[in-house]
Assembly symmetry: C2
Homo-oligomer: 416 residues x 2
């Protein structure tokens, strides 16, 4: 680490950054409802001296794009991008999403999900780990460089995006607006691992049809639940087979690199009626280099095989939909200069080599890599296991490592 780098790291104000994360958490920004939080980030980016591009997403236009996928009932969306630096070096994007998932039953939370709190070495609240913490690290890394009076040769771009949780409409909009770069870091919670690969995840919905009957003549009806059970079992077997096949070294530590999850099941509406339909919604993990259509075919073939051996299902085939978030996989070579930069920055920050590993969840990486031709890694504080849960938190220690690693990565990638 040279003197300039040391000066920048010394300038980083962790306490102020934690205060800002708490401020962001306290602005509710459920997917589809991010306006206020985006306005806050835009002001923040301006306050640290970035040029800010703010625009309203053209949802009609975006919806025509083949990579558009959305689950919530979105009325509007806002783009916020900050830029600083010159055209003389490489450009680096730091991307973070501002939207958060619903808190569920708030009585399961020790503190309000909508009040950021710093306590016992943690920052708590909805969005702390997924991913207002990571987004704030990017902002404070750039702030430190500017506060140190460093002039970057290349540009650094901070993208605060909406709608990541339900398909990435905000990141898609950034790419289509022209934001591409020589590299990008998405500050998703990777436990500080560097992830140059991301498995895909396709949301699906299966509707199984039965035949209603009063429970007192149950045998005259057909229970959609009973008809679903062999489908469930076949899908579990499909998951086993597919995961056995994965031999990607970036996923060797995962038991289930491409999980198939059946997450939501509703059937019937009266205890004394035979349930006439069953709807199951889930997500289907896709290997990093897998062809999407072949993977979809493997799924529907599995479903068809169950249908073919059951006379009722043959006559009343279940309805199959690929619906909601369609997260395609993405990968960049581990030899990409971006990977090298982040690895060295992490090593110099911590004294340790980072783990290089793929992630099994979907993120905006696919839009940046596949559509934007921007080599991208995921790298961020905290554990994805603590996201989408009550009492979400991120460790302050992780936030410190992240902001420092990002600051060094910007300096080294963009030059000064």
């Amino acid at each position: 680490m040279n003197k300039v780098e040391k000066r920048v790291l010394d300038i980083i104000n962790i306490d102020e950054m934690i205060g800002y994360i708490c401020e962001l958490i306290s602005i509710k920004s459920l997917t589809g409802d991010e306006k206020e939080a985006q306005a806050n980030v835009a002001s923040k980016l301006e306050s640290i001296g970035m040029e800010v591009d703010r625009w309203t997403l053209d949802l009609d236009e975006l919806s025509k794009h083949p990579d558009y996928s959305i689950e919530v009932d979105r009325k509007e969306g806002h783009g916020v991008v900050g830029v600083t630096g010159k055209e003389e070096g490489k450009t680096l994007i730091l991307n973070g999403h501002i939207d958060v998932v619903p808190p569920g039953d708030e009585s399961n939370w020790e503190h309000s999900p909508w009040k950021g709190i710093s306590k016992d070495g943690k920052v708590l609240g909805r969005g702390s780990v997924d991913m207002k913490g990571g987004l704030a690290c990017a902002i404070y890394a750039v702030k430190a460089i500017r506060d140190a009076g460093i002039e970057l040769k290349g540009k650094v771009i901070i993208e605060s995006v909406v709608g990541e949780e339900d398909g990435g409409v905000g990141a898609l909009a950034c790419v289509l607006r022209g934001y591409r770069a020589n590299g990008a870091i998405i500050m998703e919670p990777t436990e500080l691992k560097v992830a140059p690969a991301q498995a895909g995840a396709l949301c699906f919905r299966i509707t199984v049809q039965g035949l209603a009957a009063h429970a007192c003549v149950r045998e005259e009806g057909v229970s959609a639940l009973e008809k679903f059970i062999p489908i469930h079992n076949a899908l579990i077997e499909l998951e086993r087979k597919r995961n056995e096949r994965v031999d990607d070294p970036l996923y060797e530590n995962f038991k289930l690199p491409i999980p198939l999850n059946m997450g939501k099941i509703h059937s019937g509406n009266w205890p004394s009626s035979v349930p006439e339909s069953l709807v199951v919604e889930g997500r289907y993990g896709i290997e990093v280099d897998e062809d999407i259509e072949s993977a979809q075919k493997e799924f529907t073939d599995t479903l068809d095989a169950v249908v073919q051996v059951d006379p009722w299902l043959r006559k009343h085939p279940p309805k199959m939909e690929w619906w909601g978030g369609q997260f395609k996989p993405a990968r960049i070579p581990v030899t990409d200069p971006l990977v090298e930069t982040v690895v060295s920055a992490y090593s110099d920050t911590t004294g340790d080599s980072p783990v290089l590993e793929g992630v099994t969840y979907g993120s905006d990486m696919r839009h940046l890599v596949n559509l934007g031709d921007t080599p991208t890694v995921l790298f961020g504080p905290g554990d994805v296991r603590d996201s989408h849960k009550p009492n979400e938190f991120v460790l302050v220690e992780d936030l410190e490592t992240t902001v420092r690693t990002l600051a060094l990565s910007i300096l080294r990638f963009c030059g000064y």
Copy 2:
């Protein structure tokens, strides 16, 4: 058939009765919300010259009774009973419930469920078969006897009761108010069979606990759905075993005299989360002479056997509740004078012997027989298969047979 009987049958005005059924259908009377319909029936009973007893149910007091069971959120309930005749003969109760089940998706109805329509030999609308049609038959049978100027030796009592669909609070209230008799007919849709026995049905709810996890680390969670599947299979097997055992001649034509139905299943709330719980609600059929506690034990033993072989379930045993409608079985001897009366009345009305058969569904019979010591049969127009469904209907032909059979039954049972 003697002259008096013939005169009474001739006086019955079927068209007027159908008009009244349509009027009753057009007064929405969902379980828990029967006030307006009960007021209408009370006026009707007065208009045909019956003494009417109207009262407000004391729900607090009723809720202390061991036979009280309820599912809806009931704010109030109304009792309506009409009486006519003298104390010189036997007393006969005609019992019908005024409450109806929800129509479900109204777009599946050809006509509005809340508009009674007479068309092509049918009366259509919610409650037509279950059981405003049957209730109107009782009223018009009594009306014909009164219009004919016959003085009954015994008393005939018409009970219009609320809350049958969710546990029979209205019939319970009638018994506790002192309405007991030498015989009772409940005009449930029996396809004009005479039913001196009724199987029981106990509503149950099982809550299976899993462990939530993000779908990307699915193997770190426990799917409540997966844990439920062996429970489902064990309950299906229990149903098979129990039904094989039934050798009651009144049930010899049923494939499943005591069905076990799993009618409503909800699990999980996000496609990308492992479902942390599953709730299944259903009803458990009980043999006519079966001991309720032994039957419940057989059910919970079956559940326990699944739990014992699964380490997760052993540590997190499913929650089991007997909840909502708890319809105990009931039976009277086929040699009871009431059965003889209804059989002869039906035979003289139609020229055919009626079928004597038990029913597999719960009704208010249990309150009248078990608590009120009143020998009771079910006998009424239409098919229970057409109840609880869109486009509910009852055949006019069945209504005619019912009102005539009821009129003759009253004359012969009460004397004149």
